[in-house]
Assembly symmetry: C2
Homo-oligomer: 334 residues x 2
Amino acid sequence: MNTIIRHISLILLGFAFASGPAPNAWAQSDPLPSWNEGAVKKAVTDFVASVTTQGSPDFVPVDQRIATFDNDGTLWCELPMYVQLAFMLDRVKALAPQYPDWKTKQPFQAVLADDMKALAASGEKGLMELMAATHAGMTSDEFAKIVSDWLATARHPRFNRPYTELVYQPMLELLAYLRANGFKTFIVSGGGIEFMRPWTERIFGVPPEQVVGSSIKTKFEMRDGKPVLFRLPQVNFIDDKAGKPIGINEHIGRRPIAAFGNSDGDLEMLQWTTLGASGARFGLIVHHTDAEREYAYDRHSHFGKLDVALDAAAVNKWTVVDMKKDWKRVFAFE
Amino acid sequence: MNTIIRHISLILLGFAFASGPAPNAWAQSDPLPSWNEGAVKKAVTDFVASVTTQGSPDFVPVDQRIATFDNDGTLWCELPMYVQLAFMLDRVKALAPQYPDWKTKQPFQAVLADDMKALAASGEKGLMELMAATHAGMTSDEFAKIVSDWLATARHPRFNRPYTELVYQPMLELLAYLRANGFKTFIVSGGGIEFMRPWTERIFGVPPEQVVGSSIKTKFEMRDGKPVLFRLPQVNFIDDKAGKPIGINEHIGRRPIAAFGNSDGDLEMLQWTTLGASGARFGLIVHHTDAEREYAYDRHSHFGKLDVALDAAAVNKWTVVDMKKDWKRVFAFE
């Protein structure tokens, strides 16, 4: 996959002369081999054809081909818990020796005892305390290294693989396919923007400047003549639900023409993308229906709840991926 | 200029086969014709050569070639006042018939009477009231149209031309030159992000998603089944001074390797870009020294004050453009 992404990047950067295959080489083979033939795959390729065909009434110039992707549950696995939550719990355990009082102090005690019930009881206030203890109090460069080091060793409890291997192969193909068709692909996630940026380029081909996410406040300081950004224990922005169109407007500054999500947290992003603007628009929801190869969940899930947005999909003619039926492969390692 | 930008864009987008000249055609002619020969021009071209030459110890891969530009006073004229301030004052006058009480209510009264002394006396509180009255209370789409309509008719008081013609020709060439060398160019301005985005792509070749600026808060709403972002009278972010590295980190997520400014508001951006990180870095300050063709101002100016950053330039070996000496032309219309 990395080779394909690199080749496409080279073409887009205009080095096609020197080292890449000619663009039409791509048109001849199936760009979405992990998608089963059917209405969903056809909806994707029909949309892309309609906005990229010169002379088509729905043609969209390259610079306006903006596509936004949710991350958790849309590009990678979000069960049995959000990856960033797993990171946070592991981080509490790693830091615990420095803070002996955590053994008897909630919500830390709950984390150290793997007591998820007590953790849940600590509510949003508890979560914010954990966030402050694990995500703040270091520079942005230091945090990036902490995240990278953790991802290098952490393993998914069910699949026993690095979390960065639990990315959906059909979605990787979709990202590359859109980019090969002149789209600029963005991640727009409720997850932490600085939690994602250290690895999104390598895993998804999405560079840091095309990642939108939740953030905490930072402070600029000179330390021994060197500038740093120090991470503060204060929420700056929550990029979820109605925050997603706000984050999109703040970071991208124009409306996407295609948006991809999987939960109620993506409802407003899909609305902002598809409703009330002229021209062709595409909204897609990944419905997790495959307990065997991944997980099956929707209206009653603690993570990635898909309820209102599933009803809205029917009303607004958003494409719904039935993971079990529409995806030939879920993960590359299958 | 627009033709050059379009050609370069096409090359970068990989359509060089079909319509653009071969990349090396550009290498043969001077990419910076409005810059006089000398140490400053040489510093620019030497830096670009060092980071783009394969095998050079300072070589930087394309995806890391991030360059950030201040706007007011760096890319376009900021005297006799910031363009956005001129917009705000004009907007108060345009709205005044709807608000009869403004005739006797500060700070509006001061604006309507062109009483700059009374306006200054209203301080930051007065400015915030004007900002709320002129920049909030409409959707983001509506605001973009208000800005575009104003720019189409407003004229600079001295040059009697649209503000969008008062952009520095040498800087337009520099933006295009950097992009032709694989740089991604960003604007990082204290000005309003939504004030700039309607025109930066057309004037500077910088698309909305590469504009970072100050912002007010917005609210997502569905109105008659259509989603809008409504602009609220609350400051969200001030992208000036220490805010610039914070804005850069938030929007771009990696350190620029080159930064261009003209005032003390750019000091921290230049520090963040050039100090304490490994590899070649380039900082440049435009020093306004040409009262005849533009304006001459620095340490004591009300707009674009250049004092601390001018001293820092000497210490940190940032390149300082002497506008009078280093620029063959200031504006394209000369």
